[in-house]
Symmetry: C2
Subunit: 195 residues, 2 copies
């Protein structure tokens, strides 16, 4: 029924994060019915692949290396925020509240997936822990693996004589208690603060 | 923060059905971190765009026109199943229960979207309603627009002196009543059958 080229396209699309066979079929059909979008997409993929590279300092994605953040003159160079991935860096940048540097780990430590400190950018981070750094904010995800990776990095940072902090845990703004999981409720109660 | 080429790629991906900015960012990042997948995807898009065309008879997608179904010698040519889109045709083909021909409408009639019979393949369908056709199965979706399009086509088919049928409505196999909407429960009760 489906031709080889189409079947191949669908299985490639199905490999993208968050997509399955069903949504891949839907996307492939949509592309075939909108050829101008199809051409734009393939051109955009090729030009983005050519242009983007990982920053040699912080592992951020940019068209230049060192990236725009690392080479910015207005950023606070005494502050490093450690994140798991580039998506986390983007999320923090969207908030416009942070003006320091970043360090992108490229994942979390995981015994199950065999992710060791060597497969992340932890060695690079160690070399950045020099005397002009005043604080390292550890912003790994609030998952089991994110937390244990955070603990590991905190110990490295403290060993280098630098203050290690982490993002606050608690109820997200606008959320209803009824929708919160027990873990969040427990930590929110434990870390309660004076009005 | 994000470079132009990357921002452009993300907004193109976000236009695909079922995807938003957030999933588009995730997919773009995944592609940048898996360059071989990126190259495969762009190549596959280009070759699929070149290869696939719409069947001149039934509007199905195939590498040849007329499509493999229309030109098959083992298909029952007295039977046409009318579907809204190619995805519906694929779904019926996966069931392997149907051995007739198809007619892909390319959408539904909709006053809101301004979809008139002329913008669908209804004229083509009319020309197919000749004496050797014994039955037209109308398999538009069980939505408001699918149903009204189905009624419109049924009247054309009957006017041509051909039997028009439609897929049964009711509770899907394996479903729990508790999870069914009122519309489905109503129709399932109304169309109840003897054991």
């Amino acid at each position: 029924m489906q031709q080889n080229s189409l079947r191949n396209l669908i299985s490639i699309i199905a490999k993208l994060p968050g997509l399955g066979r069903r949504s891949a079929r839907r996307i492939a059909l949509h592309l075939l019915q909108h050829k101008e979008l199809m051409h734009k997409l393939s051109e955009s993929i090729i030009s983005t692949a050519k242009e983007m590279k990982f920053c040699e300092i912080c592992n951020n994605l940019d068209s230049v290396s060192p990236c725009a953040i690392c080479s910015s003159s207005t950023r606070d160079k005494s502050l490093i925020c450690v994140v798991e991935g580039v998506a986390d860096l983007w999320a923090l940048e969207r908030s416009r509240l942070y003006n320091g540097l970043y360090h992108v780990l490229g994942g979390t430590l995981s015994a199950i997936n065999g992710t060791t400190p060597e497969s992340l950018t932890i060695d690079k981070l160690k070399r950045r822990l020099v005397s002009n750094i005043g604080e390292v904010i550890i912003a790994t995800n609030a998952t089991l693996e994110g937390e244990s990776t955070g603990h590991y990095i905190a110990s490295l940072v403290e060993k280098a004589g630098i203050k290690a902090t982490r993002l606050a845990h608690g109820i997200p703004m606008g959320a209803e208690l009824d929708h919160m999981d027990d873990g969040t409720l427990t930590i929110a109660l434990k870390l309660r603060q004076l009005f």
